[in-house]
């Protein structure tokens, strides 16, 4: 698998040579951003065993932080050097993740879905009502990615590399974190909360830190997202994007971090090209059917399908 990831990275890094700006920005960069957002959910589901609807909220908190501390057309906030804005954004999304974990620490299964859904909806309504920090439902626009030493990070090719780097970094974080001692206790909590408690590890800090880590990953996506969209508003943290991220994770498969990116590219491709398949207006029907099919026929997502195809080929080759 690792060799495969390195190969994939090499392919991805030469893509700008061939791909037009539209592809780089609207398909590839967007897929990576959504992929990182989905990765923060995949991490929680795969390693802690809970499904969270709050990941878009966490990403949104990072996005709002960037918007607040950058030049924007809303006239709210204070401009800070971009490095500080980024650090603050990651800090807030991580803290917010920890808070979500604190509230949801006793819930598993459908209960964790419902409580995180409630948290995300509460945040959604809050951003619509609050004008002093979130500028109501219109939010912030006119935000652009910073220039670093004369290099405009927002230029299609450069932005693509920023996304690719962030995506690789987030994946590396998840892989390293999940094999760290804390990551292992998170998986211990997933498998047998009672037993972990019995050997003297209190479960709450473990759960809270898992959510906090997922907040960090979601925050990385949130920062890229606000640079990519050049705006952030209540719509960025509404029910629609929340469900989209869940769909992406499920379609891709939650067994491996790569699933999030496979799901994201699939989702973006359907979103972009459904117009050729069926009228553009029926995108939701298409994506709903895809989700239904995947959940029913391939609960481990596209990743699971690829794996079983690979095993079948192996069997044929061996015979």
């Amino acid at each position: 698998m690792n060799r495969f990831i390195i190969l994939l990275l090499i392919i991805c890094s030469v893509l700008p040579v061939f791909a037009a700006d539209f592809w780089l920005t609207q398909i590839l960069s967007r897929s990576i951003i959504l992929g990182v957002m989905a990765l923060s959910l995949t991490f929680l589901t795969a390693y802690l065993g809970v499904v969270s609807f709050a990941q878009v909220t966490l990403a949104g908190i990072a996005g709002y932080t960037i918007a607040y501390f950058s030049a924007n057309t809303a006239g709210i906030g204070a401009e800070l050097p971009w490095v500080f804005a980024v650090l603050l954004a990651l800090f807030f999304s991580t803290i917010a993740g920890a808070l979500v974990g604190l509230i949801a620490r006793q819930s598993v299964g459908i209960y964790s879905i419902m409580i995180t859904l409630a948290i995300s909806m509460a945040f959604f309504y809050f951003t619509r009502q609050n004008y002093s920090v979130f500028n109501g439902w219109t939010g912030f626009s006119g935000i652009s990615a910073p220039s670093v030493m004369g290099l405009d990070l927002g230029a299609p090719v450069v932005f693509y590399y920023v996304c690719l780097f962030t995506g690789a970094l987030a994946t590396l974080f998840v892989v390293k974190f999940s094999s760290s001692p804390l990551g292992l206790s998170i998986q211990g909590v997933r498998d047998a909360a009672r037993r972990v408690r019995a050997i003297g590890i209190p479960t709450s800090p473990v759960i809270v830190s898992a959510y906090a880590f997922s907040g960090l990953i979601a925050g990385m996506a949130g920062i890229l997202n606000v640079w990519h969209q050049e705006r952030v508003s209540s719509f960025s943290v509404g029910l629609g994007p929340t469900i989209d991220v869940l769909i992406i994770s499920v379609i891709g498969g939650m067994r491996h971090p790569l699933g999030a990116f496979i799901g994201a590219i699939t989702y973006v491709m359907i979103d972009t090209f459904a117009i050729d398949l069926i009228s553009r207006d029926r995108f939701n029907t298409v994506i709903g059917l895809v989700l239904l099919l995947i959940v029913i026929a391939a609960p481990e997502g596209i990743l699971g399908i690829l794996k079983s195809v690979k095993e079948r080929i192996k069997k044929i080759v061996l015979n």
């Binding site: 459908i110 209960y111 309504y125 029907t285 029913i296």
Partner: protein, 288 residues
């Protein structure tokens, strides 16, 4: 003081609507541990069908029955053909109902467009009454709404507490396996429960479309309100749903009246507080 009471009655009306809308959801969750995320879509479908039937026949009662029946049939079909195969796999069921709600919402948008509809009420409900003592005008629709909530609650309670089907449903909630071992085909019972839940939800849709109005987005609005009502009150408990609806309805109206900026947020704060302190809901029983 008068303002306070007006808000109180507004809260009561909203609570009645929330309660009616949440009944089907809590029934289905209570017995089957299925979080029916397509609840809002079933509600909206019932409302649209009710609207069409009322337009054609001019009879509101026929409309509410048609709306109820449509959602009952669709609900039963979802359970019989899709959800039933994954009984016990709650997460998968949740995802399936999310997918169904996305598809249904999109198809309904296709069929009925983005317009806002209002279902016309029978003439006898169009007037208003003056409440004694307070001397506040109050429309008959709102009183009817409360009466309907009371009737729905009582009928549902009677069904669950007094009938053989109710005994079977409660036994299924307590111990599904044991019920099976006593010769009951739980699959069939689940389809019936889904049909009853769908019926209630579709009728709630027609009531919503008459008391307020319906449009794309109504589905999500009432899915969320039902979710919150049922979580606050306690999953699967009718009394809990009533209490939850009352709390949320009041919180929303008093929030709107006294702190308009953050009215809606109150609702979710209540829910998060309840979940953090009493995860099974105010009147819910803890899991075994």
């Amino acid at each position: 003081m008068k303002f306070f009471f007006i808000v109180f009655f507004n809260g009561l009306t909203l609570a009645a609507l929330y309660f009616i809308a949440a009944c089907g959801f809590t029934l289905i969750f209570g017995l089957m541990r299925t979080v029916n995320m397509a609840h809002g879509a079933l509600l909206l479908l019932g409302a649209y069908v009710g609207y069409e039937v009322v337009e054609i026949t001019g009879l509101w009662t026929v409309g509410i029955i048609a709306g109820g029946l449509t959602s009952a049939i669709v609900g039963a079909a979802i359970q019989a053909y899709i959800l039933g195969r994954y009984q016990g796999d709650e997460l998968r069921q949740t995802l399936i109902t999310i997918a169904i709600s996305i598809i249904m919402a999109d198809l309904m948008l296709w069929a009925w467009g983005g317009l806002t509809y209002q279902i016309s009420l029978p003439e006898m409900l169009l007037g208003g009454v003056r409440l004694p003592i307070l001397n506040v005008g109050y429309s008959s629709v709102r009183l009817t709404l409360m009466a309907m909530a009371a009737v729905t609650g009582i009928l549902l309670w009677l069904l669950i507490a007094k009938t053989k089907l109710g005994i079977i449903i409660r036994a299924g909630v307590d111990d599904r396996e044991m019920l099976q071992a006593l010769g009951f085909e739980t699959k069939k019972i689940f389809v019936i429960v889904f049909a009853i839940g769908g019926m209630l939800t579709g009728m709630a849709g027609v009531i919503t479309g008459s008391a307020l109005s319906i449009a794309p987005g109504t589905d999500m609005q009432f899915l969320l309100s039902s979710l919150v009502v049922v979580i606050v009150g306690g999953m699967g408990s009718i009394g809990g749903a009533a209490l939850g609806a009352l709390l949320i309805g009041m919180a929303e109206q008093y929030g709107l009246a006294y702190a308009p900026t953050y009215g809606v947020v109150f609702t979710f704060v209540i829910m998060i507080a309840v979940l953090a302190i009493r995860p099974q809901g105010l009147l819910g029983r803890s899991e075994k």
